[in-house]
């Protein structure tokens, strides 16, 4: 049974602020701002629990550095063909696991609800975040964000980041 390190109240709330602002950007904001949540040398990886548990490296999305993030944004906004959809992130069970050496380790559970035109809302993707945050210019940013999703079986496409 985990005995969580005591983290300051302020840090905990700041971490939640970051996660929720991140989700707000994807759900209701401008996806081109998604890159601003990451450090220049970041790693973003969306990987199925199946691959993760097998130790297989393949990610559904792999973005290395802010360049990789920006390329993903460019692809989604300038090249891909798809129907509009509404997303709602439910981020819960946020836990700050460590705050040492300038890096804050965070985990949370998430479910992304997707609504296609004239269809019911469904669970598109769920799982957990394993994040490493660092402070840059007074703001927390993701140095690493792993999204490990439960169902390897994706309903058609994962167009937006999770």
């Amino acid at each position: 049974m985990a005995s969580p390190i005591r983290i300051s109240v302020e840090t905990r709330l700041e971490v939640e602020d970051l996660l929720f602002a991140y989700a707000d950007c994807l759900d209701h904001g401008d996806i081109t701002e998604w890159a601003n949540f990451f450090t220049d040398d970041c790693l973003y990886k969306l990987i199925s629990k199946e691959n993760w548990d097998l130790g297989l490296p393949l990610g559904t999305v792999l973005a290395e550095g802010k360049g990789g993030i920006l390329d993903r944004i460019a692809a989604v906004t300038q090249t891909s063909v798809y129907h509009q959809r509404a997303l709602t992130h439910l981020i819960t069970n946020t836990r700050v696991l460590a705050d040492a050496g300038g890096v804050i380790d965070v985990t949370a559970n998430y479910a992304v609800l997707e609504t296609l035109p004239n269809q019911y809302t469904k669970i598109l993707n769920s799982g957990r975040y394993l994040d490493k945050l660092v402070r840059q210019g007074g703001t927390l940013k993701f140095q690493e964000k792993l999204c490990i999703f439960d169902s390897a079986l994706v309903p058609a496409s994962l167009i937006y980041p999770v």
């Binding site: 199925s48 297989l56 393949l58 993903r72 090249t79 079986l153 058609a156 496409s157």
Partner: protein, 416 residues
């Protein structure tokens, strides 16, 4: 009340124009689907099942499927690969509960009937009764109650299986030209799985095959492919089929990111699109010794697409469920002798493919749109005339010839 058109497969008539038309009832009629499961996936075909490298040791197994039927492939003690139906011979339980693992024998959880790795029944608990009571009839013979087994063919580390034990060899099944493309990727080197991706698409399974036999769309739909020249109608390319039309390849060479005479009709072309991480698209010419092709997409009837786009290679296996839904199961792999850099290259290029792939997103969306479009119009038909009305190989990709060839074979097999 006169009978209506839907759900009456037995009365189906193919349009008089032949293979230049595909009637939309092939995509939604439940009777057509059932017949496909019987005569195509359950008939005289080799179906992709998995890779040998996934089950290196005796007793290693993985679950797979052929059409909508569950199978297990397993490495036998002698090193051979067996494929059995995942259905207990006793009362039908899907006995294998693990996606993969290692066993010395298969035991059904319900009554623990036990099978060896060939599928032969080797144990029936209480067969002789308990304390002289009950048990199986004296004339009950274990050898009459093994698992259903399939004919297996393996080549280059790839495992195929057939419900039809009288199949010719896999090599004959592919034919010499298709075989040479197959051997291009599966050249004898050991394979190494990099990961799986899985998608459920709300369309008929044949829409996926059409998509992969249709180089015409690639130059128009895929902004990413077109802009970066990864697959484009103005570069050297060809479309070839085996003699029956059931298998095909699309072969092409990478072009440059600039307008050419041929790109004028490609509205998707964005000559000024740039990548922050261009190394993602840097190809390594690993098949240079085998020709100029940088892309070879091979469709092997009835459930496999072998993807080779730059250095991202994957098996795409089709799983069926119902007329209007199928799954695509991707196994991304490299070679055992890949160095770290090559592995990283493959992983980066994998961003093109799969559920979030820069290219695949387009295809997944458009396939569901095809199904939405055709589902309620069984009596309308597709027009498949790009590149002519024949079913012959073409030295270019401005053609739907491989779709026509596919339906030529399909009609033959299905009796339409």
């Amino acid at each position: 009340m006169p009978s209506t058109s839907k759900n009456k497969a037995s009365a189906r008539k193919w349009p008089k124009e032949g293979v230049t038309r595909v009637p939309f009832w092939v995509y939604s009629d439940p009777e057509v689907y059932t017949r496909e499961m019987d005569v195509i996936f359950g008939g005289a075909t080799y179906n992709y099942v998995g890779l040998e490298c996934e089950i290196p040791n005796p007793g290693d197994f993985r679950r797979s499927f052929i059409g909508d039927k569950a199978v297990v492939y397993v490495r036998d003690q002698d090193g051979a690969v067996n494929v059995v139906v995942n259905r207990c011979a006793h009362r039908g339980t899907k006995f294998c509960y693990q996606e993969h693992g290692n066993v010395s024998e298969f035991t059904c959880p319900y009554h623990q009937w036990t099978y060896d790795l060939k599928g032969d029944l080797i144990g029936v608990p209480f067969r002789r009764g308990v304390k002289n009571r009950g048990g199986m009839p004296k004339d009950f013979k274990l050898e009459d109650h093994g698992l259903d087994t399939l004919k297996v063919a393996a080549r280059g580390g790839v495992i195929f299986a057939s419900f039809d034990h009288s199949m010719p060899s896999f090599e004959d099944y592919l034919g010499p030209n298709m075989l040479s493309y197959f051997d291009r990727v599966f050249d004898g080197r050991g394979l190494k799985v990099l990961g799986y991706s899985r998608q459920r698409i709300r369309s008929n399974w044949k829409v996926k095959f059409e998509n992969l036999k249709d180089p015409y769309h690639a130059s128009l739909l895929h902004v990413f492919l077109v802009s970066f020249g990864l697959f484009r109608a103005d570069t050297p390319s060809k479309t070839q089929m085996d003699s029956t039309g059931m298998h095909a390849v699309q072969v092409a060479q990478r072009g440059e990111q600039k307008d050419t005479e041929g790109t004028s009709e490609m509205h998707a072309m964005q000559a000024d699109l740039t990548l922050q991480n261009p190394e993602m698209l840097q190809p390594y010419p690993e098949w240079a010794s085998k020709g100029d092709a940088t892309v070879v997409m091979q469709t092997i009837w009835p459930n496999l697409i072998v993807q080779q786009q730059s250095n991202t290679i994957a098996m795409r296996q089709i799983r069926t469920f119902s007329p209007e839904e199928y799954e695509l199961h991707w196994t991304f792999f490299g070679y055992e002798d890949d160095d770290e850099e090559m592995t990283l290259r493959r992983l980066r290029q994998a961003n093109l493919m799969g559920p979030a792939g820069y290219v695949s997103i387009d295809d997944s969306e458009v396939m569901e749109s095809v199904q939405s479009g055709v589902s309620r119009f069984p009596d309308v038909a597709a027009v498949v005339e790009m590149g002519g009305r024949d079913t012959e190989d073409a030295p270019h990709m401005v053609t739907e010839v491989a779709i026509r060839a596919f339906y030529k074979h399909y009609r033959h097999v299905m009796g339409f």
